[in-house]
Amino acid sequence: MKKLLLFFTVLVMGIFLFTACGGTSDSGETTANPDNDDQTFVIGVDDQFPPLGYRDESGEIVGFDIDLAKIAAEKLGMDLRVQQIDWAAKELELEQGNIDAIWNGLTITPEREEVMLFTDPYLENEQVVVVPKDSEIKTVSDLALKKVGLQSGSSAEDALTGNPISDQVQEIVTYDDNVAALQDLSIGRTDAVVVDLVVANWYIKENNSDYVVLEEALAPEKYGVAVAKDNTELQEKLNAVLDEIKSDGSGEEASIQWFGSNILYSES
């Protein structure tokens, strides 16, 4: 029994040691979650999604969504913390309250609306086809018998499979992230990539790539901020804040800075 006792003593000591150097200083709030408290607005992002949320050269997470979230947190009177999460675990993170919201170019889809609560849309986007400049693919129907790359689990996948052309393509190649898909296109392993328009524009500009975006888009879609299924309070607050951001010019300013034009979504 002594050894068993020793085992647990060491375990408990180890845990205390960890907590001491864990660096998450809870300011006396009676909260069960060390990664979140009432004073902090924690947003979860997949930090590999330029230009909406990605790490800059100093390791800081930046982007259009981050700028909007900063303005929103200020209006909410809370401190913003941007937490990098694994995209596949986003629903769990939200449900357990490790993060307050997912704010990261999250497309509003009926499947997602079943497990989380969305705010009003704040950005318009399309799923588009990207091809090399000299490609013979000029329209969506030219994708027949071609290899098409896209991010797995993305709304690009839904957009392609929802289009009749998906039965005619030779193969759909899936990648962990959009940039990997775009890189493989330059190597020539695929003939085209389906991706968010905002990502395509950013990638082409940033890398001076010889890619073009087909004028014919696959599917129009909207981005929203997601909160936990039962958190109607935060949803309402965020909706009010988003309305302000759209009307007081702060959102427009951020949009022009990141995209060169105002692409904020408005109901009218």
Partner: protein, 216 residues
């Protein structure tokens, strides 16, 4: 990559996280591993079968799954769940320490098995107490036998730290991935590879030296 120097800070930050998880895991799991061995060898059936069960579960499931379980699963345990809610970094360290303690425990057990029972009897004849026999005779020999396996496991630990990004802890590989996504070139992966190789170079050197020290 042309502006590599401006990004050194970023890679250092990631390397620091990788190194901290590595060091904390090693510091906790080596002694804990020895306790696991003692429990496995315990004459008390209850203790030894408990240790057997723990080792079976930990070795029988992926470390990735254990990471997810500690971070997402612990808080859901009824009654004690609220005391088992840890931050991301702490959860990562707990999962790693427990996992590696079990592997080290089995390695130490193997080391103990390799020592002839006659040595216990000889020590008894020489008038050594059980404790003295263990610390002065058995353990030094055991360490010598175990060192190559421990070295192997330690090198694996360095690389396993890459798993922690699943629960949102950014380490060197994650920062490289971020750079790959930002710059649109796979070259930053080479930085991560270099960092792992450098860390493992030192690990290898340290263990080679230790092995030399324990040679007779």
């Amino acid at each position: 990559m042309d502006n590599f120097s401006s990004q050194i800070g970023l890679y250092l930050q990631g390397t620091l996280v990788t190194l901290s998880i590595f060091a904390i895991t090693l510091i906790i799991s080596l002694p804990l591993g020895f306790i696991v061995t003692l429990m496995l060898n315990s004459k008390n059936k209850l203790i030894s079968s408990f240790a057997d069960a723990v080792v079976y579960v930990i070795r029988g499931t992926p470390l990735l799954l254990q990471l997810l379980f500690v971070y997402f699963g612990f808080p859901l345990i009824p009654v004690i769940g609220k005391y088992l809610t840890f931050s991301r970094f702490v959860s990562a360290c707990i999962a790693f320490a427990i996992n590696y303690a079990c592997y080290f425990g089995e390695i130490f057990r193997g080391g103990l098995l390799s020592i002839d029972k006659g040595q216990w009897e000889a020590s008894k004849v020489l008038g050594l107490t059980r404790f003295e026999t263990l610390t002065k005779v058995i353990i030094p020999q055991m360490i010598r036998v175990c060192l190559p396996s421990i070295s192997n496991e330690t090198i694996t630990l360095v690389k396993d730290t890459a798993l922690v990004s699943i629960i949102g802890v950014a380490e060197i590989l994650h920062y490289s991935e971020a750079a790959v996504n930002r710059e649109g070139t796979p070259l930053p992966f080479l930085v991560a590879a270099a960092v792992y190789l450098i860390i493992n170079f030192f690990v290898t050197v340290v263990f080679k030296r230790l092995e030399k020290n324990y040679e007779q």
